[in-house]
Symmetry: C2
Subunit: 336 residues, 2 copies
DNA sequence: ATGAAAGCGCTAACAG
DNA sequence: CTGTTAGCGCTTTCAT
């Protein structure tokens, strides 16, 4: 009956040593005579002993677990970032628990609260802007947080990303220079910091540099959704734009297909540059020209930064609080 | 300094009650006088007390956490299943921790071991076949496991899925009946139970029913990969097939694009039916005709089943050990 | 190099 | 309705 009831005490008794010694062996503490170590190891194997991570966490106040919060698991962008996070976490012996907050973001506070209750040692946040409630939650804990592949309205949070403003500017400039006609921009939502301080700024700079006028009517919101972007196609056409920079790939694919299905030829009649460089850019036809991002690296660097933050030693690691990775462009078929 | 050092004891003292009472309030135990409850609640708020899930888990031997193991987080199929799992888990107050095993699957044992060490109350497994090592791990624990959206070589594991054999048969029959020419099949790997007992059987049945001959040369492996399927296009053409049933959407998209880029017109010169019905089927052009699966429901039902298994009361819940959900077909543009 | 003992923060009988 | 008392399984000083 009593399955898995073999504890550190069982092992200790069987090996005729103290719990402390077993603990040392399990944790690789060098202060154990080789013979003793071997004896304990044998018993562990024989009894099939598995340390209980919960008990360990309670006693040591460390769980070697980091929480990763993702807004939508079905979005390839986050999935690709998660890959980098995962690898580095494994490398540093951290377990990761991925949690999904769902599009709306109301669940975000709950999710983070849950992570904190579980005593994670750190958090990688890929969510939307930080609500007051969430900030309060974060403030009342000492767990380090790093933002990966985004920026939030919370400047105190260390961040790993590309230079969104610059990338946006370059993308839009390319488009304007290619067609000398109005260029639209499609973003997830306008009420986020990443829009107001990065996408919008970059867009306006590009317009200014190329002698175009800014018109708010040319900026569309599609809630990161394929379907919404798809439906936006007529409106975007209507506004006179002959090209668009789209911040996310789901939306870019939606717009592309919406235009194509409406009989518009991309790139001849309309050009698109996408922003995320996930595999979706290569799935659709014509393939999407895109800003290239080192997605895997962004995840990896975030996690690495987090490990430093968790080893308080590197408290100055917090200085690297806004890491910018290089971006580029991959010209595919949605531009000429 | 001492942030977050407010424990149940702190609250108890401040509220002038015992720890037990605080515990009762926190856990919604009705045996507390309303006045007392309110007093405790006030202190909790004032002190911003957060129960420590680790301590709770140790004391109660339940973590209200279930582990979800995914082979590749970047695969939309799993992401969509995860959504259903997540919702039901939330509904039943379970936390879920998603873990990625990475394509190869060698990490699987590690991942499951980690989950078990964390004392999860249950596991939803979406992985590949169960290795001996993994089975041993599972056997030595009492944690219930349910397989979602797949089948494994472990018959003892309860499973929620569609009828793969039948769906495959129908898909292949459609194809054969439409063209009366050889129909290929593209699968992830041939050495898995889901292939030998389901896809292959269904394929062979369809062939038999339509009077075609089985030829192993017409079955291709693409390791669930877009790129591999893309590269397979010439070989598939070469073997004389004029249509293919592809078990996964990534592969189907790869094949489709591979063919298209090779100048083959889909569906006029070659037809494709895909098997997963993720959003990718609608991303590509022509859109992929596909078996439809209630992805969300598969996830949801799996999780529901797991909750029953975790409440030992429903021990007979294990009887529903192979739940089949209805599938269908969505005819899009890759077939005529 | 090893052991004894005191918790980690909470739940769960058991009393009352 | 409320408090007391044991632990849960492990880590961690502090001795030895």
């Amino acid at each position: 009956m009593e399955k898995q009831s073999v504890t550190i005490y069982t092992v200790a008794r069987e090996a005729r040593v103290s719990m402390a010694t077993v603990s040392r062996v399990v944790n690789g503490n060098p202060n154990v005579k080789p013979a003793t170590r071997q004896k304990v190891l044998d018993v562990i194997k024989k009894l099939n002993y598995r340390p209980n991570a919960v008990a360990r966490g309670l006693a040591s106040k460390k769980t070697t677990t980091v929480g990763v919060v993702i807004p939508e698991i079905t979005n390839a962008y986050f999935a690709e970032l998660a890959q980098g996070i995962d690898d580095i976490a494994t490398m540093y012996k951290y377990n990761i628990v991925l949690t999904n907050t769902d599009v709306g973001g109301q669940k975000t506070v709950q999710v983070v609260r849950g992570l904190l209750a579980k005593q994670v040692d750190g958090i990688i946040y890929m969510g939307r802007d930080v609500s007051d409630e969430l900030r309060e939650e974060l403030d009342s804990s000492t767990v380090p947080v790093v933002v990966a592949g985004s920026v939030t309205n919370d400047d105190k949070l260390p961040t790993v990303r590309i230079d969104y403003r610059n990338a946006t500017r370059q993308a839009v400039e390319r488009l304007v220079n290619a067609i000398h006609e109005p260029v639209a921009m499609v973003v997830g939502a306008k009420n986020r910091k990443i829009y107001t301080d990065y996408y919008l700024k970059g867009y306006q700079e590009a317009l200014k540099n190329t002698g175009m006028n800014f018109d708010d009517q040319l900026v569309f919101e599609a809630n990161e959704s394929y379907d919404q972007a798809y439906k936006l196609a007529p409106a975007i056409l209507q506004c006179g734009a002959k090209a668009a920079f789209v911040t996310g790939d789901d939306m870019a694919a939606g717009l592309l297909n919406g235009l194509t299905d409406a009989g518009i030829k991309v790139p001849n009649e309309f050009q698109i540059i996408s922003g995320h460089d996930t595999k979706e850019t290569r799935l659709v036809r014509p393939m999407l020209t895109s800003i290239t991002q080192p997605l895997y690296d962004i995840g990896a660097v975030s996690m690495r930064l987090l490990t430093k933050l968790m080893d308080k030693k590197d408290q100055n690691a917090a200085d690297e609080s806004d890491v910018l990775l290089e971006h580029g462009f991959s010209v595919r078929q949605s531009t000429r």
